[in-house]
């Protein structure tokens, strides 16, 4: 299935765009998506950490993603 992934900050630079389209397996969860991203973009490993947000909320590793979700890569935040 195809999912769109929003990326911000340094993750936007690594993934290439603010909005990125990827072909992933059905039933992929947050943990698997993180592995997918690290494999596809080895520079993601250089980050201190990164989280996945689903529909605007930080998502636990076992949350299953579908194409209707708004999925985002959240590198370490640095507001303020």
């Amino acid at each position: 299935m195809t999912i769109n992934i929003l990326a911000f900050g340094i993750a936007k630079e690594i993934l290439g765009n603010n909005e990125n389209s990827f072909e992933v397996q059905e039933g992929i969860n947050v943990k698997m998506l993180r592995s997918f991203l690290i494999e596809r973009f080895p520079k993601m490993k250089s980050l201190a950490s990164f989280l996945i947000a689903v529909d605007g909320e930080y998502a636990a590793e076992d949350v299953v993603i579908n194409p209707e979700h708004e999925v985002a890569v959240i590198p370490p935040v640095s507001g303020g």
């Binding site: 980050l47 640095s78 507001g79 303020g80």
Partner: protein, 138 residues
């Protein structure tokens, strides 16, 4: 009153203060984060902030609700700037009022501490020779 904003225009301490007018609250604590001229490393030319707007507002709302649950405070204002900021410009204003000032101080400090940990906003420091997304790398 809860007033949460992410703006791409200059923030104003006076405008923020004008909103903090709860009749039972004489004490207001305001934290202001400004763009510094220097980091530990080198001279800053400008900062570039970006936000994941919808989620950032949601996380700011959580902070406001947590603060109201933990302390007897009345008005909470969180304004965050995005876009390109020069040295001396205001990046964030947090204001909290309360009938007793101790609660206002504690709540304001909690709000900025939590904002820096949870709200999806990012800043890039631009130096004369290079740039860096703050906190991105270990």
């Amino acid at each position: 009153m809860i007033d949460l904003k992410i703006l791409d225009t200059a923030l104003s301490a006076s405008e923020a203060l004008a909103k903090m007018n709860h009749p039972a609250c004489g004490g207001i604590d305001i934290f202001i984060g400004m763009v510094r001229a220097q980091t530990e490393k080198q001279e800053v030319v400008r900062l570039e902030y970006e936000a994941y707007y919808g989620m950032a507002i949601k996380e700011m709302e959580k902070i406001a609700q947590e603060v109201k649950a933990k302390w007897p405070v009345e008005d909470i204002l969180i304004h965050h700037r995005v876009g390109i900021l020069s040295v001396g410009e205001i990046a964030v204003i947090i204001a909290v009022n309360a009938p007793h000032r101790k609660a206002a101080f504690e709540a304001c400090q909690y709000a900025i501490d939590t904002l820096k940990q949870t709200v999806p906003i990012w800043k890039k420091e631009v130096f004369v020779n290079g740039e860096e997304w703050v906190s991105a790398h270990a």
